[in-house]
Amino acid sequence: MSRGNLEPEKEPVKNGTPPKIIAFLCNWCSYVGADMAGTTRLKQPEGVEVILVPCTGRMDPLFPMKALVEGAEGVLVSGCHPGECHHQDGNLYARRRLEVLKGFLPFMGFEEERFSYTWISASEGKKWQQVVTKFTERIKSLNGKKD
């Protein structure tokens, strides 16, 4: 009945395995921007799984929370710039909710580097490359510290 141990032992992560990162991208801006980064052959790190949302306004703060609880090593959210939301104001709601989530996660033992949200427009492929590279590096160095 020692209660914490109902899960199977996690397999130790082999060196060089890319960290599991989930990225929620809005359909109108960020997804297109990330796609552009791909078509213009900008180098991007492996390990990022993209989930498409119609708008960051669709982001339930529970999505990144559940991803982290279930073992994702990092979660990114990106949408249109505030003021330019394809759906008018979805991202303005998202900004509040995700900022609250961001402030809460470290309290529960998740390093603050593990969750970020940003604004990337359809033409900002370069910014996407920058964000995803920087974010992956942060996660890798966190994992490095853990060993």
Binding site: R3, N5, L62, V69, R96, G103, W119, Q130
Partner: protein, 345 residues
């Protein structure tokens, strides 16, 4: 107010009871029933009383253990399976902290102001039975009385005495609203606190949150893993909360959508409490009933206070104060002065 001798305050509590009974009886002519406090199975545990007649009202009590937040019964009116009929009018006895819950429920539109009457009662702080539990076997307490700044208990026919500061609820030690913020009738005039308690709490109600944040992130992770391994998922915390009125739709128990595994291991329990905190962000009025209701003593109020502190820092908003305000997470500002965009260079 802080200088008043304790003797006068005890007298005040007794006078308040007589006045309270009168107010309740008068309110009965305007409502179908009034909810107050009655003697429970022992001196430490008063229980909610549903008063429908003057005779019932004689069983009312008011003492240093009347902690229940009776506002939790209000949403029942509009919920399916609620005990009360939608047309029934309710009267409610509320303390300052409870009145914040009433205001927040009004803000959320879950109750209609014309369907209930509030009998506000000013409060001097309540004794935390869990703090007593760490000191004496509370299951054998025979008597408990407040005298001269201490609580005197009789346990197993022996006397035990503790300074009040040690045994009042932490929320009482940093109480900002000893007088209810909303009422139709007020018992006891302006509230005053019996004891301001240790300086840290008096100056800063979020003192415990700040202390916790001084720990390293791994220490915090281990702490929560240890704590949540005790959780039974009985949902007492959720069911006593005035704002958890989702009933059949609560995602803790739905299969469609299947947010939460029914397994009761530390990971799943932690997720439950985290998303409950998220759903209560900017709504929780920190009454602490969740922590009191928990049979395994989880430090739940700490979690919800952290969430509220964040909301307060970001949006300058405090729940349960002004019924005309809109909850911060369902509105936005075109420019958020306290939110800085992350830099990626």
């Amino acid at each position: 107010m802080a200088g008043k001798p304790i003797e006068m305050r005890n007298k005040k509590t007794k006078e308040q009871l007589e006045n309270l009974k009168t107010q309740v009886e008068e309110t009965l002519s305007q409502v179908d029933f009034v909810i107050g406090y009655a003697k429970g199975y022992d001196v430490l545990h008063p229980t909610p009383l549903f008063v429908r007649s003057t005779k019932d009202a004689q069983a009312l009590i008011w003492d240093d253990f009347c902690i229940n937040n009776l506002a939790t019964y209000l949403p029942s009116q509009k919920r399916p399976g609620g005990l009360f009929h939608p047309h029934e009018k309710i009267g409610l006895v509320v303390k300052g902290c409870d009145s914040r819950a009433v205001i927040q429920l009004l803000q959320e539109g879950i109750i209609d102001r014309e369907n209930f009457k509030i009998i506000g009662i000013s409060c001097q702080g309540k004794v935390d039975v869990k703090k007593l539990k760490n000191r004496v076997p509370i299951e054998r307490v025979e008597n408990a009385e407040i005298k001269e700044g201490s609580i005197e208990l009789t346990v197993d026919s022996r006397g035990q005495k503790y300074p009040l500061e040690e045994v009042l609820y932490s929320k009482c030690l940093s109480c900002e609203y000893p007088t209810p913020l909303i009422y139709d009738r007020l018992v006891g005039g302006e509230g005053s606190l019996r004891s301001k308690g240790p300086k840290e709490f008096a100056q800063d109600p979020y003192h415990d949150v700040e202390e916790f944040e001084k720990k390293g992130v791994n220490e915090r992770l281990d702490f929560w893993e240890q704590e949540f391994s005790r959780c039974l998922r009985c949902y007492a915390c959720r069911d006593i909360c005035p704002f958890c009125y989702c009933q059949f739709e609560c995602i803790a128990q739905t299969r469609i959508p299947h947010w939460l595994s029914q397994k009761t291991a530390s990971k799943e329990n932690k997720f439950f409490h985290m998303f409950r905190a998220m759903h209560l962000a900017g709504r929780c009025t920190e009454c602490g009933e969740c922590e009191r209701a928990c049979p395994v003593d989880l430090p739940l109020l700490l979690l919800h206070k952290k969430m509220n502190k964040k909301v307060s820092e970001l949006f300058g908003y405090k729940s349960g104060i002004n019924p005309k305000l809109r909850p911060p997470l369902i509105i936005f500002q075109p420019e958020e002065k306290n939110i800085e965009e992350e830099k990626w260079e």
